[in-house]
Amino acid sequence: GDSVTQTEGLVTLTEGLPVMLNCTYQTIYSNPFLFWYVQHLNESPRLLLKSFTDNKRTEHQGFHATLHKSSSSFHLQKSSAQLSDSALYYCALLSNTNKVVFGTGTRLQVLP
């Protein structure tokens, strides 16, 4: 079945350094949708980015990601981390089953 693998556990960065959270996926479906959701403390998850177009960069709120079907990847990046970026980040896959598969989540902690 479909699956999503993310950078494990906790990623700790100093403010101002670049962010990269890895996401790879497995599906037999050739046209999956990929999403990044962000969940801040005591809030519900909300959409950060989405893409279904191969090799096209998508950006929102300073974050960007590019879907690469050749490597089944959708890594999340930001050039300069801010304290307010501290949150739980989920990569998610939607294929033809109409069921969204979430990764286990990566907690990003940005320190001053």
Binding site: F33, Y37, S44, P45, L47, K50, Y90, K99, V100, G105
Partner: protein, 111 residues
Amino acid sequence: GGIITQTPKFLIGQEGQKLTLKCQQNFNHDTMYWYRQDSGKGLRLIYYSITENDLQKGDLSEGYDASREKKSSFSLTVTSAQKNEMAVFLCASSNGWDEQYFGPGTRLTVL
């Protein structure tokens, strides 16, 4: 725009009790989801429904029942609450091939 409402916000139950959580959405979305989130952990899919009266099991369906009474509402029942169980149950909805919108959650505590 739209909104997802979950009731109750907080639910305290006794061991062995049957507990029902409710979710309403006014996005007119076809698909609705129930997730469980344990403290500091990721989302685990319990049930989802792609249309009224449809039910699909997620990875964590054992110990739960669900009901999609109408397009706008999706209920989840904990069939027998487990002692010391604590978790947040999140409802979400989406329109086919698009993002999910999440409700504010129901926080369950079992004494």
